[in-house]
Structure formats: C-alpha cells, structure tokens
C-alpha cells in the first residue's frame, strides 16, 4: 500500500521500504554535509535492532556512526554540546520509551538554548526514535510519546506515515537549525512506497491529503494513517466518502489544511496512537473545533491509545490500539447511516 503524491512524477519513482527511505535520507545528508553524524546504541555494526541503519557504518566509518555506551542522558548531552559548535548530530534513542531518560537535555536544554541565548547559540540536533504498539513488547517499549515533545516550545516533531514522507521529512529535519524529535512507527519499517530518484525535501508544517473525500475527514498521524485509509476503504463500500489528512508534523502544525478539510466535510474523527488523555488528538480536535466550528455538523470525535500501560498479552494489547472497525463505527454514527 502506498500513497501517490501529487507533486511528484511517477516515472522516476522506485518502490522502497520505510526503513530504506530513512537510510537513504541519512546517507544522502551525510554525504552532502560532513557535520552530520549519528550516535546511539547499536547503531554501527548492528545497524540498530530494527536494522534501519544497516550499512551506514561501512560508508561513513565509526567516527560518524558512533556506538555509545548505554547512557541516553549522557549521549543526548554530548549531542547537544556538539550541536552548539555547528555539528548536526542525529541522536538515536532506540525506543521512544527511553526518551524520558534524556528529557532534561531535550526539554530544558536543546529546546531552550536558542531562545535563552538570544538566538546566538543554535542546536541543530535530531533525536531519532520510535513509537507504536502491536509488537508484543509491553509497557516500556510500545508507547507513543510524541505529544510530550509537541507540548514544548522550541522543539519540532516529525511523525511520517509513508516512505516518501519519511525521506523528505528526514532531510528537512537534518537541515533544520532547531531541535527535531523524529518518531518512526516501529511496525512500519517494511511498508513499501514510491520514492522519487531525484532529491526532494518536504517542509515541516505541511499536511498531506492521503485520500480525498467529501463526507467525513479522518485526521490521522503516523501509524494511524494506514488504519484510517483502511477505514476509508470500508466506508466507501457503504457509500461514505472519507478524506484522510496526515499532518506529518505535530509541530509546526498545518492548521489551515486541517480546518479546510473540516469545513469541507463537516464531520471529523482524529486518530493518533498516543494516549488519548491529554493527547495529540485533543490538540487537533481543539484546533478544528476553533477553526471550523460553524461548519461542523457534529462534535469532533477522537481515538487514541487506550489510557492504560500497554500490556504484553496479545489479547490485551490489541485492544489498546485504535482499529479501522472502531473508526468505521464512529464515522457511521457521525454521518447518521
């Protein structure tokens, strides 16, 4: 399953996986800019547990693909310290659940140094990490914590849902002069999609319409985009035309596109794999409610991960993730069919 993107020419496209798209983006940026380097646990020979970085060490050596001791707080700080001198580190945090260990460096340091130095010090760093459940790895390997970072002024947050978006957003992330937290859905690495041969970047703060429709808008992020597309297909079978909008970055946020789609369809469901309580879905629903209030036929509905620590047992875990069936039911309800 892949998304056509309007701006690109089909002829010069190849089908590659989400993981390959990320690896290509990093390799191209490392070739282009000698200040870019990658640092984290098991990034070099092992190429990370998900094998996303496999082979990079062969091309760039252990000086630029650096295996670190197990010390997330430490190597995040090392990254921040080097970034202020003009380096562009990619700090690999194996699971998003390990970000709390590096929180001081990300939230109180990386996010604030630019402002607190009156713009004289920059921290062009990217924290690369994962989100998403469904892998039977329980409460401390499955969380989607991107809302935390979207909450902090000074940080940008990318959450791509296709190989095309991943590659384009990665290149922007590395070139950006502000700290970026880059979340990859760990279940998506083998997802295939078309990616152009030629160089391209995708700006932050630009949503993408993954499918257009007129009856209802499904705003979905990262892992939930495929779920929303699935739901859209099922809705089509019963005669409902769903538009699927992917913000691609939670901050900066393309409010305009979200609001325009909501105005067009009048009904909105927001789906994101972070916890529902105080989550991304709440922010997006509020943006839409504020911007399209007079156009809405019903209150905005939202689906996040169930508000429980993600359990291990398959029968328990599967229920915690929003499903296409739930979305279809909610859509039918909103559209009164």
């Amino acid at each position: 399953m892949f998304m056509q993107n309007n701006q690109v020419n089909d002829e010069n496209m190849r089908e590659i996986s989400f993981a390959e798209a990320i690896r290509e983006a990093l390799a191209e940026e490392m070739r282009r800019d000698p200040t870019v380097y990658i640092m984290g646990e098991d990034v070099a020979e092992a190429g990370t547990p998900f094998k996303v970085l496999l082979g990079l060490v062969d091309e760039f050596g252990t000086e630029r693909v650096v295996d670190t001791p197990i010390s997330e707080a430490g190597f995040s700080a090392i990254g921040v310290g080097s970034a202020m001198t003009g380096m562009r580190p990619v700090i690999d945090i194996m699971f998003g659940d390990f970000l709390p260990l590096a929180m001081e460096q990300i939230v109180n340091r990386a996010a604030k140094i630019h402002y607190m130095s009156g713009g004289k010090l920059r921290v062009p760093i990217v924290f690369r990490t994962t989100l998403g459940a469904g892998r039977r790895s329980a409460a401390q390997h499955s969380q989607s914590l991107h809302a935390w970072f979207s909450h902090i002024p000074g940080l940008k947050v990318a959450i791509p849902s296709t190989p095309y978006d991943a590659k384009g957003l990665w290149k922007t992330a590395i070139r950006d002069d502000s700290p970026v937290i880059f979340f990859e859905d760990k279940m998506m690495y083998s997802l295939k999609g078309l990616v152009p041969d030629e160089e391209y970047t995708i700006p932050f703060g630009l949503a993408d319409i993954k499918r257009s429709g007129k009856d209802i808008t499904l705003v979905a992020t990262s892992s939930m985009v495929q779920v929303a597309l699935d739901a859209a297909k099922k809705l089509e079978e019963i005669g409902l035309s769903a538009e699927v909008v992917d913000p691609r970055t939670t901050w900066p946020l393309d409010k305009k596109t979200l609001i325009a789609s909501a105005k067009k369809t009048g009904r909105v469901i927001v789906i994101d794999e972070g916890y529902e309580q105080y989550g991304v879905t709440a922010e997006l629903a509020a943006v839409i409610a504020e911007g399209a209030f007079y156009y809405l036929d019903a209150p905005v509905r939202r689906f996040g991960a169930m508000d429980v620590p993600v359990p291990f047992s398959p029968v328990l875990e599967d229920q915690t993730i929003p499903s296409a069936e739930q979305i279809v039911e909610a859509a039918k309800d909103l559209c009164a069919v």
């Binding site: 646990e41 020979e45 398959p314 029968v315």
Partner: protein
C-alpha cells in the same frame, strides 16, 4: 529444597546435597530456557530473552540469600536466580505466553521481567538500569525499619554506563546500606563489546570511586561466586555496607530472540566460550567428587524434562486474560 534457606557455610564446607541442589537448579533453568527458544522458533511465543551461560553467577548468588526474606531485583537474564528463589517453571512459562495466571502480572508485563511478591522479587523496567538506584532505596527502608534483610540488584555490565549506576552506588555507600550490586558481565551489550561501553577493564574497579568493596569473580565458577556473595551478604547484614560484585561470564546465545549475533562477533569466539560453560564445569567437579555419574545425571535430566514439559503443556493450555483485564489495575485501590 529448604536446606539453603538458612545461612550456609563457605563453599568448601557445603554438604553434598546442597551441591547437587545447585546443579539441579542450574540444569533446570538451562533446559527451561532452551525450551523457550524452541517455542519462539516455532512461532508460539513473541519474545524470549535468555539467561543461558549465566547460571553460574546466578545460582552462586541465589544460594547466598535467604529466600523470601531478602529483597531481589532480578534482571531479564535471571531465570535460574528466580527459579531458585521460589518461582516455578510453570510461572515462567505462563509469563512467556502472557497468560492470565502468570504471577508476575497476569500477562501485562513482558516475559522475563520477573516479579513475585512472596519471594520479594521486584520487576524491572524495560529501560535498563533504573533498578540500580531503586535497590538502595529498598535497602534504605530496611535500615530505617531496623531489619537485617539484604537487597540484591542484578544488571549487565553495559548498564553500568547509566547514571543510575553512579547515583545508586554513591547513595548506598554514603549510607552504608545493606545492598549488593551484582553485575553479570557477559562482555556484550547487545552488539557492543565492553571496549565500546567503558574504558576500565573491570566493572568492580569502579567500587573504589565510591569507597565500596568491589570484587571481580569468575562468573562461570558457581562456588567462587557463592563465596563472594556469601561474604557480601554477611557484610550487608551486619550493617557494614554495600558491595559491588562482578561475575565475569559470557552470553553464548543472541541477545534476545530479536537479535542476530553473527553481525558483531565471530563463531570461533562463541565456541571457545561454550567450552567454559558453567554447567559443564560444575558437572566435571561433581563427577570428580563422585557426587554425580552418568546414571544419576540421566535421572536428574529426566526429572527436569518432566518439569519442563509439564510447564510447557500447562502454559499452552492455560487461558489468556479476559479482554477487560486490560483496563486494570492502572491505579491502586482508593484509601
């Protein structure tokens, strides 16, 4: 199996029956662990992380403790430790499958994140090392309460690079807390060899920086570990402070069922360490002392395989949690 609940004498004076108990515990853990790998390969379970090769360190430590009295923070490789301290093969298998009856969490926690309240075993967090700073907290409470219970916390050598290690050891030493930091040094942190993890040759050397006793011991020599742990426990119980123990060993299997160790180490290296296997080594000693012969070994093996088969069958047949069990217990009961 109650013989070792009391403080036992030094290794040289241990009774034959205790030595055979040690052997049985090592072998049982090994066979259960091997079965777990098989179940993973058959696609019956989602994940396994193994303690194979580290039984010498774990059993040496377990026999130095008062079961159900001392607090233990096992880490994910501590299959033989937790089996010796009161968990059963069925319990571990139920956890592996994520079944309702699994004592650690009723299927909520990942396999091998052991906890068992009756044995005072505390579950780890998947982010490694956070238990190293919690253990002095448990020991601090024992001290305040005037109890002579001891706390043992286990972790790998790679994890000693975390800040929690520094913070935990510093605290424990300032307050002379009854805690033993048991580092199981298997020379790798997933793909990273020790040289990438630290500039020192031995984790135990770091104890000096905290004015703490640090001991490096051959982790594949169960009796040597036992003696070192026994002394550390005695010191802690008497209020003479913490010890950092480093059991030097090897992980002859991949890091976990998700890992392929061929990308980062040679087969020759792995094979050479397999020859130093702690069970083979102990077995040799028991043969030399005439405590074990082929017939007896076959008998022990058969008994163990019955236990392993029973645990497997039982766990496979056991029901999964009911769907609504997902929703609790997120919070404790209201006051």
């Amino acid at each position: 199996m109650t013989a070792y609940q009391q403080p036992l004498p030094p290794a040289a004076e241990l009774e034959d029956s205790v030595l055979l108990q040690m052997y049985y515990q090592m072998l049982r853990a090994r066979r259960l662990d091997e079965r777990m790998w098989v179940l993973h390969r058959q696609g019956k379970v989602a994940f396994h992380i193994s303690g194979i090769g580290q039984e010498g360190t774990q059993i040496g430590a377990a026999f130095a403790l008062r079961k159900g009295y001392d607090w233990v923070y096992p880490y994910y490789r501590d299959i033989s430790l937790v089996l010796t301290l009161g968990m059963t093969p069925r319990m571990l298998m139920l956890g592996l499958f994520g079944k309702k009856e699994a004592v650690s969490s009723g299927g909520r926690q990942m396999p091998e994140h052991f906890s068992y309240r009756p044995s005072k075993l505390v579950t780890i967090s998947s982010p490694v090392g956070t238990q190293i700073a919690q253990a002095p907290g448990t020991a601090f409470a024992s001290k305040i309460k005037g109890s002579d219970e001891v706390t043992v916390v286990c972790f790998g050598e790679g994890t000693t690079s975390q800040g929690d290690f520094h913070e935990g050891l510093n605290w424990a030493s300032i307050h002379k807390l009854p805690v033993i930091f048991l580092c199981q040094n298997n020379q790798y942190a997933i793909s990273e060899p020790m040289s990438v993890e630290m500039a020192v040759k031995s984790v135990a050397d770091r104890a000096k920086g905290y004015n703490m006793v640090g001991v490096k011991v051959d982790g594949n020599d169960v009796l040597a570990v036992y003696d070192v742990m026994r002394e550390a426990v005695a010191r802690a119980r008497k209020g003479e402070g913490p010890t950092l123990v480093e059991g030097f060993t090897y992980r002859p299997v991949p890091h976990s069922s998700d890992d392929d160790d061929r990308t980062y180490r040679s087969r020759e290296e792995v094979e050479s360490w397999k020859k130093k296997d702690p069970i083979l080594r102990f077995e040799k000693l028991l043969y030399e002392r005439k405590l074990l012969d082929d017939a007896k070994k076959t008998e022990i093996e058969a008994g163990i395989m019955d236990e392993v088969n029973d645990a497997t069958d039982y766990a496979m047949r056991a029901p999964y949690p009911a769907a609504e069990e997902c929703l609790y217990p997120v919070y404790g009961p209201l006051p």
